[in-house]
Amino acid sequence: MIFATVPFPSFTLESLPQLPKLLVEWLLTLVGAPDWLVIIGGTAAMAGTVVGVFLSAFALLSLVERKTLARIQNRLGPNRAGWFGILQPVADGIKMLTKEDIVPTKAEWLLHLAAPILIVVPSILALGVMPLGREWVPVNMELGLLFFFSVGALTELSVFMAGWASGSKFPMLGAMRAISQMVSYELPLIISALGVIMVTGSLRLSDIVAHQEGFNFGIIPNWNLFTPWGFAAGLIFYIASIAEANRCPFDLPEGESEIVAGHMTEYSGFKYALFFMGEYLGLFAIAGLGVTLFLGGWQAPLPFLGWVPTWIWFFAKLAVIIMSYLWIRGTFPRVRIDQLMRFAWLCLIPMALLTIPAAALWVFTGKGIVSWVVTVPLLMIPWVILTILFNRRLAPATRTYTFADS
């Protein structure tokens, strides 16, 4: 072994998440490995770090969600497994791993096996392009945002495979509903991101975050959410992301009182755990994208808080968004399928389309007070008209019930 004099990598609190990668690369160069092996080792360490962080966040979220929902519903939540239920994710993991893996006779076993794997893979891929900190972007792709939406498309096909390969009616119906919902809400999601891309001029996610630095009037951060078109687009992105992740109030495809478990009905044991994990990792991915596009990514909210490591800001903002998802889940009832479709196609898509000229006008009129005066009516007047129309003419017909004895 040749011990070359490679200095120990220096790291600060800011680049602490890079430590596994730096350590692996240092060890490999110390041992004298060829360059390509160092690169592969470093990349694997980076991927391992990201996956490890988000999997532990997933475990934590499953517990936090149950406790939060329980408190909203005036009960306690899991508190048996360890102090305040902190070992509940471990108990859940053991349970999932030791359950019998049942594959129905009429199911196609290959697709039945491939579907949960193909649902987890896009979520993890999408997490790889997220700028998690100033120096912590796992893969800094030039087309990061487009990559994110492309792998989201793979999720829809996997949901179909899960539903069809199960060979029974509930999964089939659940898969059809899930796909129509995901396809319908993917449009407002992408269109609301278009305004951000236009204003930033780049598809690279770290550029989008860097574009949102600085503070107006010394105290208000320059995030995209604090502009009129950004507020509208951010709100639309938020609602569409709840629908994309199949969360309540848009969890028709997996609501137990509606369709048993939708496309996941015939899955048990570890495959169900993979579905669960894919759904939550997808939630992290899309919430992380919302944070990156509209909330300034890893930027600090106040100028004097710049000493805090940037990845802490990213995860703090992510935590705020996810807690708001949990809050909404505990508060709102489930929407019907026709209400869902109507809302997507007749309300979200026109409003999302309006954010694009609003963003263009914002840039052309110089991002000052004139821009506010021009863009706010452009967004508010159609919104008011849509609201009035929804309450009067576009509302779904009231159901008339005829009873047996009339």
């Binding site: 697709l111 030039e142 087309l143 487009l146 990559f147 939406f149 492309s150 792998v151 989201g152 498309a153 793979l154 829809e156 096909l157 179909f160 495979m161 069809w164 089939m172 059809m176 796909i179 396809v183 598809l203």
Partner: protein, 171 residues
């Protein structure tokens, strides 16, 4: 070159499955697989944008459309298998093999095969965007109008069935 050599047989195998398999859903899913592999091919060549767009549009939209329609138009009995009559396969091969022969002969005899491979011209998004909205702007607008017309037409097709066809007296 090596990624191309690995991907090309896989693409052809998936496409062969899409053409040959009797169960329609299997054929549609194999089509999705072959389109995804073509997207990977574009990514290895260096056309990043085209590869990602291919993935998003073909695998994420067209493949889903196809499987959805297969679900809606499923026959009520379990005999979904397509009985491939030997006569139609022979006719198909008789029509296809000359086309393939013409293409391959043009390939072998053509001069462009001796062109030196240019070192990877990177596909710059800025250049693509600039070209799309200056030189090809009329084409972009035309495609926009086309897609809007397609959307409206498809929505109208789907609505048509809701017109009540019976003349029962209203209670």
């Amino acid at each position: 070159m090596i990624p191309l050599l690995i991907l090309s047989p896989l693409i052809l195998l998936a496409a062969l499955g899409a053409v040959w398999k009797a169960r329609p859903v299997h054929a549609a899913l194999l089509l999705a697989l072959s389109l995804a592999l073509v997207a990977v091919l574009y990514l290895t060549i260096g056309a990043d944008f085209i590869g990602l767009v291919q993935f998003m549009v073909y695998v994420g939209a067209v493949a889903i459309l196809i499987v959805f329609s297969l679900l809606i138009t499923r026959p009520s009995d379990e005999a979904e298998e397509i009985q491939r009559r030997p006569r139609s396969m022979v006719t198909g091969l008789i029509c296809t093999l000359p086309v393939l022969a013409v293409l391959l002969i043009a390939l072998v005899k053509g001069d462009p095969l001796t062109l030196p491979a240019a070192d990877a011209p990177p596909l710059s998004i800025a250049r693509l965007g600039e070209l799309l909205f200056t030189t090809h702007a009329p084409a972009v607008l035309a495609v926009g109008v086309l897609l809007t017309a397609v959307m409206i037409g498809a929505a109208l097709f789907a609505r048509d069935i809701e017109k009540p066809k019976s003349n029962q007296p209203e209670k």
